[in-house]
Amino acid sequence: MYTQALNEKAPSRDANAPPEDAKMLARFQAVVDAEDKIEPNDWMPPSYRRTLQRQISQHAHSEVIGMQPEGNWLTRAPSLKRKATLLAKIQDEAGHGLYLYSAAETLGMSREEYYEQLLSGRAKYSSIFNYPTLTWADMGVIGWLVDGAAIMNQIPLCRCSYGPYARAMIRICKEESFHQRQGYEIMVTLSRGSPAQKAMAQEALNRFWWPVLMMFGPSDKESMHSADSTKWKIKRFSNDELRQKFIDATIPQGQHLGLTFPDPNLKFNDATGHWDYGEIDWSEFRRVLAGDGPCNRQRMKARQAAEANGAWVREAARAHAEKRRQRSAAAKIAAE
């Protein structure tokens, strides 16, 4: 998902770290098992902290990078209504990134350090944002499917054991529903439009379907055990479970549009009550995650440029604040 790389390798256990206090660990696990929340200053196992730092910041980075593919169509939205909607959605994604950085910072790492991890390429973000947005229909598909997949993953995260993350996810989930519905509305409009518009909708679905399925991360067979995450009540469903839920929910929506999914093996299984689907091209997934997708370099360059070009603004704001502070201090002395 937005944190799909989490399964690649479990955070390494620090060999030099003192053994975790068994009594503290038991108390921590009891709180988690009771579905109580862990709060920032509570004792937590170092590996729990590292897992969350990694997962929440990856999630934040994804929200931030995720603004780029949609930003690509802002100036070319087909109407003022669509433009206002797209702008509001992109602003929400910026907000989601900021809620999440705010939650990640409570784990004792600074905003600047998290940014640095993204800008230097050390931290990952969701593979889906490394695909280009070639037509307006991509705005429909992204809202419908990318945000739809995000919702599938994020709803269980609202019950995550770490309080600040759970609270951020609740805010985010409230806003995601608008994102998915506006995307689907674009798809409805296009698929009821001219043959050319319908073809554009179909073509966008064809390009995005498989990358969207990859958002849920590697299959359970391959994914490095998320045993710790499950025990800690960070992760509540496996990648394949979430992927299946998403497919089951999405197929009828696509049928309603009169579009076809680009998977000849897609068929409803009466025995299981679920949709069977074809094999995902995991080599593509690994390639994109490793930095070699269609837009990885472009996305990173844009993010680095935004950070660099904003430096003088941050510097000026700090200088202004400092000047005001000194002036008011001088005025206080003069008054005494």
């Binding site: 806003e175 202004h320 604040a321």
Partner: protein, 95 residues
């Protein structure tokens, strides 16, 4: 070049008049004015707020979770602080 870190502020929102301000997250900003603007942009895009507070994070004094027992448990045994501890004869009626 390493930039100086931009200060962190905690954000509190009053969602409706009559309700108390409630913590909702944090923002980074150089000064109070910018912190208020950032808080408005980040946390109130859908009419979530009628009033905002921003407080420098470093200024918040919090109790230590390790002292939770010492600080808060003693009140658990003081059941005589609750009205239900006292028996009032039925025929007195509601009190």
């Amino acid at each position: 070049m390493t930039e100086t870190a931009t200060p962190l502020w905690e954000v509190f929102i009053r969602s409706r008049s009559g309700l108390p301000h409630k913590h909702c997250g944090s923002v980074h900003a150089a000064d109070a004015t910018l912190a208020l603007q950032a808080a408005r942009d980040v946390y109130t895009r859908r009419g979530e707020s009628v009033s905002l507070w921003v407080v420098p994070s470093a200024e918040i004094v919090a109790s230590d979770p390790d002292d939770k027992g010492e600080l808060f448990e003693p009140t658990g045994t003081k059941i005589y602080r609750h009205p239900t501890f006292y028996i009032v004869p039925d025929d007195v009626g509601h009190m």
